[in-house]
């Protein structure tokens, strides 16, 4: 199933298939180890539409909802 990262439930594992932001967003996420094809686990989702916490390559990154919406992922 293909969806955006902000809609994924806690503790699910997904694979990045597209980053729909511009050059800056791709560079920023790339620097933190998030690339096309990478595996991500959603660890936490903050209340009140807050950010989500993901784990990628053994590292934790917090992404704001708006950012997460720009990351297309494949679930399962």
């Amino acid at each position: 199933m293909i969806t955006t990262l902000d809609l994924v439930k806690e503790s699910q594992k997904v694979r990045v298939i597209n980053i729909s932001g511009g050059w800056g967003l791709r560079q920023r996420l790339g620097g933190l180890g998030i690339h096309f094809g990478d595996e991500i686990v959603i660890k936490k989702s903050a209340i009140m539409h807050g950010p989500i916490l993901i784990s990628v390559h053994g590292n934790q990154v917090a992404l704001g909802r708006g950012v997460a919406r720009k990351v297309t992922v494949e679930v399962g």
Binding site: W23, G24, L25, R26, Q27, R28, L29, G30, G31, L32, G33, H35, F36, G37, K44, S45, A46, I47, M48, H49, G50, P51, L53, H57, G58, N59, Q60, V61, A62, L63, G64, R65, G66, V67
Partner: protein, 636 residues
């Protein structure tokens, strides 16, 4: 020999820097155009080495201000050796920066920091193999424990002597061909010399569409620009992805390959610290813990400060009458001496007791890795004032000192966010203002009144934030923030950090305090203070404050804590309640907290957000202070 520490954020660069700079070396903040780097000189093998701590950088293709400055420094200053500091437990990601650094062809040493953490996580790294693959020495280090630091620097020194350069690894064949062709063009036109970088590095940056290099280029040579475009399109067509993605994927694959060939995974040892996030980042418990931690923190600072303040203050104020017995109190000499003593007393008895526990506690929270967690928790709330989670970091640092807080706004990507955060950060009561709140309000009125001031302050900041973001509407790019693993803070490192920050107070602010109180004594002696007080009388009478307070307000612009010490001196007694009502104390404190930022803050604001916006901030805070203090006068 010049050595630069380069690495991703949270890799422990500053710990390595501090372990060399420590207490002994002179650490000078030398200002670049927009960034101040930490620079130190130290001796090794009878040689003086210069060490620069550059801002944390995830990649050499960056747009964040701090990262850009780090790269600029590396390109513009002839650095002899780069120490690439890597968090060993995040090897695969960190190698992507390492590969880019190798492209720069500067002698390099890899520092595998936190090797014990990696071990605990079950990541075993074949150091020799890694060193062979990259042809660069690799030194395992545990910076917090000081292990491997000596070897790191002696290796760096040797590399600098030999000027030996590591290997540049190749990408896939078709990408490599494109790079080669573009490099040839660049070589022909001799562009890379201008930037002082290897052709291959520049070619890759062009292919990646790096803003810094592209922008500089657009207004110069249309011809090579067309070439770049051609090659970018070529990559795009063949790979079906934007050229920058092609390059970063190549680098990612190379790093993963290296990672897989040097790392063997074993079972991780679980530690209690791994479960901390179940509480501290929990959707409900997280907020409760946050409130509790800060409540306890400020309480502790106040308790510690109070125990020390009282006896010290009594001691100092018992000296002055003793001197009055041997020197006539009407003489100029007595004025000067009592001015100096009161300046000394202000530093030792009033400021230091609160400053030290606060800065130490902040250092512990920072080293533990709690600050990014707060950003995570507060993101949703900060969206309500048009900012996002990362802005909380400058705000928290602002409780220490406004200057580093404003510098920390560089971690925010948008200029508008930096401006709003800077203005709001100037209103946060820094440690200097905290000493006023604690030593004046909490001490003479009640801790509850002090808490009320903090709450009022927060409300005002929230409302101001709302107003500012209304005036400057813009969709904020949203938060992208690494949440590093927790680290058990090292007492030694936290103390060193505290000391580095206290130094500013001891060597800059304190002499200013002493000079200030001497000047006030002189003004008083020559009766000049009445003139100034008269000038300020419209303001002081509006706020219902004693006339003598007027002079102290000028001093407050120099340093916020000065105004309190001057107040005590101007009133002629350390027992403030005997001459000022509680309402007056509250009004005074509220005014001091909000009005015009101190000189150091104005200077850094000027540099960071420009003159116009700085003047706006000054006017804004001044008007706000008058309004709030007037309200306090009539309401409290």
């Amino acid at each position: 020999m010049k050595i630069a520490l380069m690495g991703q954020q949270n890799s422990g660069k500053s710990t390595i820097f501090n372990s060399v700079a420590g207490y002994k070396a002179v650490t000078s903040n030398f200002p670049g155009k927009t960034v101040t780097y930490n620079l130190t000189k130290f001796n090794l093998f009878g040689q003086t080495l210069e060490l620069v701590d550059l801002p944390g950088t995830y990649s050499l293709t960056s747009f964040d201000l701090a990262e850009l400055e780090a790269r600029k420094y590396l390109l513009k200053n002839s650095v002899d050796v780069v120490i690439d500091v890597i968090d060993a437990s995040l090897l695969s990601r960190s190698l992507e920066l390492t590969l880019q650094l190798l492209e720069l062809k500067i002698p390099m040493v890899i520092c595998l920091n936190m090797i014990d953490e990696a071990d605990r996580k079950g990541i075993k790294i074949d150091i020799e193999k890694l060193s062979k693959i990259l042809d660069v020495p690799v030194v395992p280090v545990i910076a917090v424990k000081g292990k491997g630091i000596k070897e790191l620097f002696s290796t760096a020194y040797k590399m600098g002597e030999k000027k030996k350069i590591g290997k540049t690894l190749n990408f896939s064949k078709d990408v490599e061909e494109v790079i080669e062709k573009l490099s040839a063009q660049i070589k022909e036109k001799q562009i890379s010399k201008e930037f002082n970088v290897p052709e291959r590095f520049l070619a890759i940056k062009y292919l990646e569409n790096d803003r810094y290099f592209m922008e500089d280029f657009k207004n110069r040579d249309k011809k090579i620009f067309k070439e770049i475009n051609y090659f970018q399109n070529l990559l795009k067509e063949v790979h079906g992805r934007p050229p920058d993605v092609v390059i970063s994927s190549e680098r990612h694959h190379l790093s993963m390959n290296i990672y897989e060939s040097v790392v063997s995974l074993t079972k991780p040892h679980a530690s209690l610290i791994d479960y901390l996030d179940n509480v501290l980042m929990h959707p409900i418990l997280g907020y409760i813990s946050l409130g509790l931690i800060f409540y306890l923190f400020f309480n502790l600072v106040f308790k510690v400060g109070k125990i020390v303040e009282e006896p010290l203050l009594n001691y100092f104020y018992s000296i002055i009458p003793l001197i009055g017995k041997s020197i006539n109190t009407d003489t100029l000499l007595f004025s000067v001496i009592s001015g100096i003593i009161q300046g000394l007393a202000g530093g030792i008895a009033i400021v230091l007791p609160y400053l030290f526990p606060f800065l130490f506690g902040l250092a512990i929270l920072e080293d533990l890795g709690y600050l990014p967690r707060i950003a995570f928790l507060m993101d949703a709330f900060l969206h309500k004032i048009g900012l996002h989670g990362k802005a909380i970091i400058p705000f928290i640092l602002g409780y220490g000192c406004t200057v580093p807080a404003i510098m920390a706004t560089r971690i925010l990507e948008s200029e508008r966010d930096r401006f709003i955060t800077s203005v709001l950060a100037t209103m946060i009561p820094c440690a200097a203002r905290m000493t006023i709140i604690f030593a004046l309000v909490a001490f003479y009125i009640s801790p509850k009144a002090a808490l009320a001031i903090y709450i009022l302050n927060l409300i005002v900041i929230i409302i101001s934030g709302k107003i500012l973001s209304r005036l400057l509407p813009e969709v904020t790019p949203g938060m992208i923030l690494e949440i590093p693993a927790y680290h058990i803070p090292s007492l030694k490192v936290a103390l060193a950090k505290t000391w580095l920050r206290m130094k500013e107070f001891i060597f800059v602010a304190w002499p200013l305090l002493i000079a200030g109180s001497t000047i006030l004594s002189l003004l008083h002696y020559f009766r000049a203070d009445t003139l100034i007080n008269h000038f300020f009388s419209p303001l002081t009478s509006l706020l219902g404050l004693p006339l003598v307070v007027g002079t102290t307000l000028i001093f407050g612009i120099l340093r916020k804590e000065l105004s309190m010490l001057m107040l005590i001196q101007a009133l002629g007694t350390a027992n403030v309640v005997s001459v000022m009502s509680t309402t007056q104390i509250m009004t005074f404190t509220v005014f001091i907290i909000f009005y015009i930022p101190c000189v150091a803050t104005i200077a850094v604001l000027w540099r960071e957000i420009g003159s116009k916006r700085t003047l706006f901030t000054i006017a804004f805070t001044f008007i706000l202070a008058i309004i709030l203090a007037t309200i306090t006068r009539f309401v409290y």
